[in-house]
């Protein structure tokens, strides 16, 4: 379960300052910001741009290019469900249909109580024991509706 911090300019500046001297610091900085705040707040973009001496457009370009950077705060739990071919061969689309209807959300959405955010992922390297998922970073295998319910119960 994630415990994200509220936005703070000072906190963001400290995160950026810790990495700014590293070569190619953009992705590490964005990862650290997302780890603390849960997403990349719009307010962080000019701070990163200034620190790395690039334009805001360039930072925005990077944030929007990579699927993993969120631009909205996620729920307390993040479920990343694999949709790649090896999991397709084991029926991941039917599991995904169940999950979406059970949580009443679509991909990249968060349940109305702020509990779970559902994200698609393309391969977790668990391709012999699919359908696979990561729930708050914990790997799940051979998912079916029953196993999904058990996993969901374990975090709620």
């Amino acid at each position: 379960m994630a415990d994200y911090e509220p936005w703070s300019v000072d906190r963001a500046d400290a995160i950026i300052a810790a990495r700014v001297r590293e070569p190619g610091a953009m992705l590490p900085i964005l990862h650290d910001l997302q780890a603390v705040f849960g997403f990349i707040p719009t307010e962080a973009v000019p701070l990163v741009a200034h620190a790395l001496n690039v334009t805001r457009a360039e930072v925005h370009g990077v944030v929007s290019f990579y699927h993993e950077y969120r631009r909205h705060k996620p729920g307390r739990h993040i479920l990343r469900l694999c949709r790649a071919e090896a999991c397709q061969a084991l029926g991941c689309e039917a599991v995904a249909d169940h999950v979406r209807s059970r949580l009443n959300i679509g991909w990249h959405e968060t349940t109305s109580d702020g509990a779970v955010t559902l994200e698609p992922v393309f391969c977790l390297g668990l391709c012999a024991i699919g359908p696979a998922a990561l729930l708050d970073g914990r790997p799940l295998a051979r998912l079916d509706p029953a196993r999904f319910e058990t996993a969901l119960d374990s975090v709620s």
Binding site: V62, R80, F122, G125, I129
Partner: protein, 506 residues
């Protein structure tokens, strides 16, 4: 803990964790000394535990925490008989048939124990390289015939020699651990199960080309591999294996498939969008931060220590045609015995899927096998005589890629799979070249029409033409190879494209 306690090895590979290995380890902790290892790669038997019995390591699996009391009662600690007892792991047919070189330690040792690593032949390759010097090290890699295991199959020694001969203020070794192909997990298993092997391979590469810094670019979807490798880096640095002359840093990707393409990966490492660079210049001449760079896949680099240790000839003696040495084949998808099978090149696809993999998990007939990830062709059983070899697969309009073999049973809809390939390409295209960026979207729309039964023959002709343009006009393998799954589906499973699934649009 008493000194007389029995040692039990319990994997902590992400796949074993997904199947309950942590609970098994906790249940065993009061009764034995639990050592966490990587996985042997027999995933249908995970969690597979091994008891250090007097007769050798006795394997049991698949074990759940609830099995532990009964196992203990059956004499688990001395290797007692039980329905879950498998025997000595090396004698299990799945392992006995393999030639484990790159993966010889995976699942055997404590991945974070330098003593274990050394005791199992670790660092002998690096020491050999230092003894024979950089030029002879490169020559050994050249003579071994080692080709890039990431998918392109380019001779590793030529990359190394080019970077070694290039002039630059600083040189880099970059390890591509952005293992994005569905059906592949060899990089993940190695980084979790034997991370020092990758460190040693990179150190040898650094020594050979006079690089001072290495980067490992690991995909964010692998949190356990990231943690294991970072821990191993810290241990190797503290013990003096990294530091003064050559150090390694791990960087984490952010969910872009295209960053597995080498120039896109370099852009990402430099802090930009992962957009493909035009070649030339080659990365070996002008790579990371404009400096000469060797960029190799995890398995390529992790195969180098054993090549140096045992010599080029021993490695070169294995294999088939121009594909020398061993390949970790990864059995995935709807397969009965899914797991990692390291063997010399040359097994036929049918041997891999049926004899080793045991057919489908569902028990239904195999209909299609996608080899080489999302950019690989779908092969029907009629092509099962194709040997696992770069050239043989290319001759059948396919590729072996990173060695993933994804099995589908007869419920698969191949038009749907072809559409997925185009959809995946449209989502993951870096956008730099038009055939890939626009072609994939148009391909998806056209396949939608075909699936609705709209002007099917004319639209199929359009798909063929589009695939031709993408294959020859794209800048990198993403747009260039996505025609493989699409065209192979069309070629081998034409009936799936000629039955309308959805009502025609009004």
């Amino acid at each position: 803990m008493s000194a007389s306690q029995t040692t039990i090895f319990v994997p902590r590979d992400a796949a074993a964790l997904a199947l309950g290995a942590d609970a098994v380890a906790s249940a065993l902790a009061p009764h034995a000394t639990v050592v966490r290892t990587g996985s042997r790669g027999l995933f249908w038997l995970e969690p597979m535990i091994e008891v250090a019995a007097p007769s050798g390591r006795m394997a049991y699996g698949p074990v759940t925490a609830t099995d532990i009391p009964a196992l203990l009662a059956a004499g688990l600690l001395s290797g007692g008989a039980h329905r879950l007892r498998l025997g000595l792991p090396e004698q299990l047919p799945f392992l006995a048939q393999q030639t484990r070189l790159t993966f010889s330690r995976c699942g055997v040792i404590d991945p974070l124990s330098l003593d274990d690593y050394r005791a199992h032949g670790g660092f002998a390759g690096l020491e050999r390289a230092r003894a024979i010097g950089p030029a002879a090290t490169i020559d050994t890699v050249l003579k071994s015939g080692l080709r890039g295991r990431g998918g392109a199959g380019f001779p590793a020694g030529i990359k190394w020699k080019t970077a070694a001969d290039a002039a630059g203020a600083r040189k880099y070794i970059v390890c591509n651990a952005d293992e994005g192909d569905s059906g592949t997990y060899a990089d993940r298993m190695l980084m979790e199960g034997d991370p020092f092997c990758l460190i040693e391979g990179m150190a040898i590469a650094g020594f050979a080309v006079a690089a001072s810094k290495g980067y490992v670019y690991t995909r964010s979807e692998y949190p356990h591999a990231i943690a294991a490798f970072d821990a191993a880096l810290g241990i190797a640095r503290a013990a003096g294996w990294l530091g003064a002359d050559f150090d390694i840093e791990q960087r984490v990707g952010a969910g872009a498939y295209v960053c597995g393409e080498e120039t896109s990966l370099l852009e990402s490492l430099e802090g930009r969008r992962g957009q493909v660079r035009a070649k030339p210049p080659l990365p070996a001449h002008k790579g990371l931060f404009g400096q000469p760079t060797v960029i190799n896949n995890v398995i390529t680099l992790a195969s180098v220590p054993v090549i140096l240790r045992d010599g080029a000839e021993a490695y070169q003696a294995l294999g088939f045609g121009r594909s020398r040495g061993t390949m970790p084949i990864q059995l995935a998808g709807n397969i009965k015995y899914g797991g990692l099978f390291e063997a010399g090149f040359g097994l036929t696809l049918g041997q891999i899927v049926n004899d080793i993999g045991g057919g489908t998990r569902s028990g239904r007939p195999v209909r299609a096998v996608q080899v080489g990830g999302p950019l690989g062709a779908y092969f029907p059983p009629s092509l099962f005589d194709t040997p696992f070899d770069y050239e043989a697969f290319a001759a059948k309009d396919g590729l072996i890629g990173h060695g993933g073999v994804v099995v589908f049973d007869d419920t698969v809809d191949m038009a749907h799979q072809a559409r997925f390939a185009m959809e995946f390409c449209s989502a993951e295209s870096c956008g730099k070249c038009t055939p890939c960026r626009i072609g994939s979207v148009r391909g998806m729309e056209t396949l939608d029409k075909i699936m609705r039964g709209i002007a099917v023959e004319a639209n199929l002709e359009l798909i063929r033409d589009l695939c031709h343009t993408m294959k020859f006009g794209s800048l990198c393998a993403l747009g260039g190879f996505i025609p493989y799954p699409v065209m192979s589906a069309l070629e081998h499973f034409p009936e799936d494209f000629r039955r309308a699934r959805l009502a025609p649009a009004a």
